[in-house]
Amino acid sequence: MKILMKGNEAIGEAAVLAGCRYFFGYPITPQTELLEYLSRRLPEAGGVFLQAESEIAAINMVYGAAGAGARVMTSSSGPGLSLKQEGISFLAAAELPCVIVNVMRGGPGLGGIQPSQADYFQATRGGGHGDYRLPVLAPACVQEMVDLTVRAFTLADQYRTPVMILADGLLGQMMEPVELPAAPVNELPAKPWATTGCKGRQKNIINTLYLNPEELEAVNQRLQEKFAAITKKEARAEEYLVENADIIVVAFGIVARIAKEAVKVAHAQGIRAGLVRPVTLWPFPEKILAAAAARAKAVLTVEMNAGQMIEDVRLAVGNERVHFYGRMGGMVPTSKAILEQIRKIGGIVRGKYAVRPA
């Protein structure tokens, strides 16, 4: 049975169904409904909701709870995520599974509260200090807010890593029908490494300090191997009308849906446009994109920022064919504007639309 849910609340419910019983967070628009929802829902489910004194405290409470073996989540938006970066670096280093939600708003600074994708770099490059990455999942509809939240908890435990859900204010605030998972997760994977008290075993230590550089390099090596395995196995993208496409539009999250509308209309007008929507931003689905764009004459990247994902797009398909269209500061690109960009890249040649290389 479908129910109508707000994106922020859908993440909250999905987390509970995924076996998450602990949430530590701080209010910030446009993600606050997630806090409010879990402040009601978690106690019902026998869990703990705690409004922390700061984003910094919240992410460190997540560290403690994850280290104690729980499924745990925190959420915020840009300015709050900046504060959490220290903790995220520690979580990645200590290999603690957890889910971090960023419902993005316009930046930099205090910025605004309208939707944005300007935290792409921060999310996909690690964000904090040191060499690390974390899986970043980008939902494009409220149903995916549910599905990818459940997926995030699975990935987190499977790879012992923090996982980020990168949404935006529009996705967080909008309502759409969702189908919730039929069976909630009741049994969590065993975590023999967790600090739960050392009864009947050697003591466990959760630590990120290695003063000996040789030892620290070995730790980094191990982390890099894990990142390589994730890169190999976990890249996901949605493809739409990519076969024989002259122009491949690349967009993620809500922008991908707006772009899909533009691609649809373009098709109706005889323009062979297709869409690749990265579902995982890290690992970036470069192989999927490269294959989809192999015969395309141009690639158009559309983002709600000044051009961040475009760097990954260029790494995947090369510099030459790549065009960019973006809006910033909380402005949302319209499908009309994207269509105009698609049309601009090409032109009508001998009565037929044709694409010139960039």
Partner: protein, 181 residues
């Protein structure tokens, strides 16, 4: 069928709830729906609006760039959204509050004295449902029954006792353009 609607007015006039009711009713009829609110500071004191899409097929973009229908509950909403209506679109005006004439002549314009009717039933707070009733009768995008059923599901407990008035407001809105059903 893809129906794109904007419902706009002051915060407190129930514009967000009206949109949710429509979306909920559409969902109950097995249609694809989405609802996007304006959010943040602009809700306080200024205008609030929501964008609703109801479609037979999957909704790619949930944005309402060029609405087919606009409900306006106050003058700022009229000024902001009437120009965005697509040619031939429907403009539903709460004529109890909005007296200004509309310049465009390519629209289907319906005046609904929603506050007057609502006050007769119980209170001006029902004006949103009078407007919604009018819309249902004029378009048939979703049925009265689906909206009535949605009301039962979505009305918060503290407003439950108002259910009969809500239904009546819907019916009176429909009656302006035909028989309520």
């Amino acid at each position: 069928m893809t129906e794109k609607i904007i419902i706009a007015g002051f915060g407190g006039q129930g514009v967000l709830f009206t949109g949710q009711l429509l979306a909920y009713a559409g969902m109950m009829e097995g249609k694809h729906v989405s609802w996007i609110p304006s959010y943040g500071a602009e809700m306080r004191g200024g205008t609030a609006h929501c964008a609703v899409t109801i479609a037979d097929e999957e909704i790619s973009s949930p944005l309402v760039e060029e609405p087919g229908t606009v409900f306006v509950f106050n003058l700022p909403s009229l000024l902001k959204f009437a120009p965005r209506l697509k040619p031939g679109g429907m403009l539903l005006i709460n004529s109890s509050l909005v007296k200004q004439e509309v310049k465009r002549n390519d629209l289907r314009i319906y005046s609904v004295p929603a506050n007057q009717i609502a006050e007769k039933i119980k209170s001006a707070q029902l004006a949103n449902l009078v407007m919604l009733g009018a819309y249902l009768k004029l378009t048939g995008v979703v049925s009265f029954h689906s909206v009535a059923a949605s009301l039962e599901k979505t009305l918060p407990a503290r407003r439950r006792h108002l259910l009969p008035y809500n239904r009546q407001a819907l019916e009176e809105g429909m009656r302006l353009f035909g028989e309520p059903n």
